[in-house]
Symmetry: C2
Subunit: 281 residues, 2 copies
C-alpha cells in the first residue's frame, strides 16, 4: 500500500514507522510545511520521499492527516476535493465533532474515516516517533456509518496493524469522554507547572527536589501549545464542563483542610483511590 | 552495622534492601504493628528478624523510623527516651517541621537526624520495595545543627549508600518546598481522579480510553490516605497556600476558555512549558 502522511511529527512519524515494520506500507510520502521535520523524517527513514500536497494525495492509496485539529478541519475538505473513489483518507485528531462536521456534506465524505489513537507524549517532531507507541492503546473510529465500507476496512486494518484495540464511537461522545480522560489532564498539568513556577522562584530547588511523583504529574505540561490550543478550542464546552467539576473537587480538599475535617479528607482520598481498581484491571 | 527499621513498608523496605546490597547493614531488625508486613518482609529477606519495639531499639546502631508522619511525631520522643549516646535515630517523613519540633527540647535530640528521601510511589507495603528506588533522587537532611556530629556522619553515610544526592535544609523551608514540589501533586491527582469518577460514570470507558497521559497524571491518586492525610495535616498552612495558588491558576485557564481568549491560553501553556527546561537540565 502507498501511504501519504500529512504531518511528519510524533504521531504521523510513529504510525509510519509501525506500518513499515509491519510491511503494510510499501512506500510512504511525507508532506509537511515544516521542511526541517521533512528532512529529519527522511533521514530517520520514517518516510521514503517527500512530496507536495497535491502530488502526495493523488499518488497514495491512503492519506493519513496527522496535524493539529484546527489545521485538519481546514485541510480535510481540500483533500477530499481531489481524492478518487479508490482512495481513503483518515485523520488522527484528538477532537472529532468539529472535524466530522467540517466534511458532513462533502460529496466525498464516505472516503474519510475519523480516527483518534489514544496515545501521545509531551514530545513532538519526527525525532520523538516510536514504532511501538500505540500497542495496547485504544484506537477510536468515530461515525463509522458515514464512511464507505471499503474505506472503513482499510482503516480498521491500519488500526489492527498498530496493535491497538479498536473502539467505535459517536464523535460527540468521543469529545465528551476525551475531555475527561485526556484533555483535563493536560490542563491540570499545565496549571500545576504554572503554580510551581509562580510559587517556587528558585529553579534550582525545583530541579533538585523534583521527585518521580512530581515529574509524572507535571510531564504533560511540556506539551506544545500548537497542538493543545486547537484541541481546547474545538472541545471548549466539554473541557469547561470538566474543568468546573475539577475546580469544585479541589475546593473540597481546600474546605477539608481549612476546617481541619480530616475524616472528610480521608474520604476524598479513599474515593480517589478507586481509580486504581479501574486502571489496573 | 546493626539496623532496626520501624515500619517495613515501601520506604523502610526499599532502604533495607539497598543497605543490605551495599553491605552497610550486617543485620536488620524489622519492627511493625502490621504483622502481615513483618512476615512478608522476612520472607522477602528485607529484614533478618523481627523484634518488639524496645528490643529492636536497644539492639541497633541505627534506628530508621519509616512510618506515617503523625505516628513518627508520637513515637520519636519515646525512641529517644531509651536510646544511648552510641546510637543514632533517623526518620524518613515527608514533613519535617512538626517532627523536629516534637523533640526540640528532648535531652537526646542530638542523636536524631531528620531525613526525607524524595522518592515514593503510589504503592505500599514490603512487596513494593525496590532496592534501586532512591538512586539519583534528593535526600534532604533538616536542621543538621541540632544533631551531633557523629550521628550526622552516620546518616550521611546512609544517604550516600542510597546513591542519593544530599541536600541540607531548614525544616520550615523543607515543608514549604515540598508543598510545591510534592504535596500539591498528590492533591491535584486525587482531585483529578475524583473529577473523572464523578463525571464519567462508565468505568469501562475510563479503562478502555485511558491513555498513558491520563495514567501518569492520575498515578499518585492511588496513594493511601494512611500516609497522606497526616502529611496534609502537618503541612496544612503551606499546602493550603499552594492549593489556593493552584485553583487561581486553573481559573486562568477557565477564563481564557470562557472568553475564547486563545492568545492568553497559548501564553499560559507556553509559560507551563518552561518546566521542561528546569526538569530536563
Amino acid at each position: 500500500m502507498k501511504i501519504s502522511i500529512v504531518g511528519t511529527g510524533l504521531i504521523g512519524g510513529s504510525i509510519a514507522l509501525k506500518l513499515k515494520a509491519k510491511g503494510i506500507a510499501d512506500f510512504i510520502y511525507g508532506i509537511d510545511n515544516n521542511t526541517h521535520h521533512l528532512n529529519e523524517a527522511l533521514k530517520l527513514q520514517i518516510i521514503d520521499a517527500h512530496a507536495d500536497l497535491e502530488y502526495g494525495i493523488r499518488n497514495a492509496d491512503l492519506v493519513i492527516i496527522a496535524i493539529p485539529v484546527d489545521a485538519t478541519r481546514k485541510l480535510l475538505p481540500k483533500v477530499l476535493d481531489i481524492i478518487s473513489d479508490n482512495q481513503t483518507v483518515m485523520d488522527t485528531g484528538s477532537t472529532k465533532a468539529g472535524i466530522v462536521s467540517a466534511v458532513k456534506n462533502h460529496p466525498k465524505r464516505e472516503r474519510f474515516v475519523a480516527f483518534h489513537p489514544m496515545w501521545g507524549t509531551e514530545n513532538s517532531g519526527p525525532k520523538s516517533a516510536v514504532s511501538e507507541s500505540f500497542a495496547g492503546k485504544a484506537g477510536v473510529i468515530c461515525n463509522r456509518e458515514e464512511s464507505s465500507e471499503d474505506a472503513l476496512k482499510t482503516v480498521e486494518k491500519i488500526v489492527e496493524s498498530l496493535d491497538m484495540h479498536l473502539i467505535y464511537m459517536n464523535a460527540e461522545a468521543h469529545d465528551v469522554h476525551t475531555a475527561y480522560i485526556s484533555h483535563i489532564s493536560h490542563i491540570t498539568s499545565y496549571a500545576l507547572a504554572n503554580t510551581v513556577l509562580e510559587k517556587e522562584r528558585e529553579e534550582e530547588t525545583i530541579f533538585q527536589l523534583a521527585s518521580s511523583g512530581f515529574s509524572s504529574t507535571v510531564r504533560l505540561a511540556k506539551s506544545h501549545p500548537e497542538m493543545w490550543v486547537p484541541i481546547f478550542k474545538q472541545n471548549k464546552e466539554n473541557v469547561l464542563d470538566v474543568l468546573n467539576e475539577h475546580i469544585a473537587q479541589l475546593r473540597k480538599f481546600k474546605a477539608a483542610l481549612e476546617k481541619e475535617n480530616f475524616e472528610y479528607l480521608e474520604e476524598l482520598i479513599s474515593n480517589a483511590n478507586k481509580i486504581r481498581g479501574i486502571l489496573d484491571k
